[in-house]
């Protein structure tokens, strides 16, 4: 019984430096909760589209406030991050890619792709009129 104190303990979150995969895993959950809250913002936007010209113009003015813009782009990044790690989960669910040496590689790819998608969306947002005319959307 003397060695009972030497048994391995689980990591203490305050002093244990989480590996990248663990940081990404908890971020997936946090972004998921954050995006759920963002659904309220989506319904507000839809409500303004249904509300007519004045409601729509007010919504656009509100959404263009810099404070709201910071939150909005936070949502866009959260969406792309959650999307990328979600795809990673779907790959895991298909029973593939559990090898230890692929984990960090996938984590870096997820971060890179989600940042790139956010950047592309931002460029798209800034040059929106040019792009609409090219795409005929």
């Amino acid at each position: 019984m003397s060695n009972i104190n030497n048994r391995p303990t689980s990591p203490h979150l305050q002093i244990y430096r989480l590996p990248l995969t663990a940081v990404i895993s908890i971020t997936h959950r946090i972004t998921g909760v954050f995006l759920s809250v963002g659904l309220v913002l989506f319904v507000y936007i839809l409500y303004s589209v249904a509300g007519g010209l004045n409601a729509y113009a007010l919504m656009q003015a509100n959404m263009n406030l810099w404070q709201v813009q910071v939150i909005y782009w936070g949502f866009v990044y959260a969406l792309f991050f959650h999307l990328c790690h979600g795809v990673r989960h779907l790959i895991w669910d298909s029973g593939k890619s559990f090898a230890n040496n692929t984990l960090n590689c996938f984590a870096v790819i997820e971060l890179f792709v989600s940042l790139m998608l956010t950047l592309i969306t931002f460029i798209f947002y800034l040059n929106t009129e040019v792009l609409w005319s090219i795409l005929h959307l």
């Binding site: 959950r29 998921g32 909760v33 995006l35 759920s36 659904l39 309220v40 989506f42 319904v43 936007i45 839809l46 409500y47 303004s48 589209v49 249904a50 509300g51 007519g52 010209l53 729509y56 113009a57 919504m59 656009q60 959404m63 263009n64 909005y72 866009v76 969406l79 792309f80 999307l83 979600g86 795809v87 989960h89 779907l90 669910d93 969306t121 798209f124 947002y125 929106t128 009129e129 609409w132 959307l137």
Partner: protein
């Protein structure tokens, strides 16, 4: 010492939950890109432009499907988070059903707005 697992959810319900989380996720992958285009329209385009864009059949199918999938996916996801962090069964039950009912309320508002949009012009 006797271990009694919490029997609030049966194993078959757990499987259904897991599968539905994945099915909704698969649908949301392409629709997320549609959402980005829609939000970009709403934030930058003139009203008439956004309205006529949204009222095309493809975009109406997209927004309807997105609404159904996203609220279902969010409710399933938040249920897991609540189950993981709330130990007291009664509070957990209230939290899960509070979330579900809020989402049902929110999606019904969204559907009403969609009907309003269809009736414009």
């Amino acid at each position: 010492m006797e271990h009694t697992p919490p029997l609030t959810i049966s194993s078959s319900k757990g499987t259904f939950h897991w599968v539905m989380q994945r099915i909704t996720a698969l649908g949301l992958v392409p629709l997320s890109f549609w959402l980005i285009i829609f939000l970009n329209k709403c934030l930058t385009a003139p009203y008439i432009n956004t309205l006529s864009w949204l009222k095309t059949p493809l975009n109406l199918i997209c927004i309807f499907t997105w609404l159904v999938l996203v609220f279902y996916h969010a409710a399933l996801g938040l249920q897991v988070v609540i189950e993981d962090y709330i130990a007291t069964a009664s509070i957990r039950f209230v939290a899960i059903w509070g979330t579900n009912l809020s989402f049902i309320f929110l999606v019904l508002i969204a559907f009403c707005q969609l009907l309003n949009i269809l009736s414009i012009g």
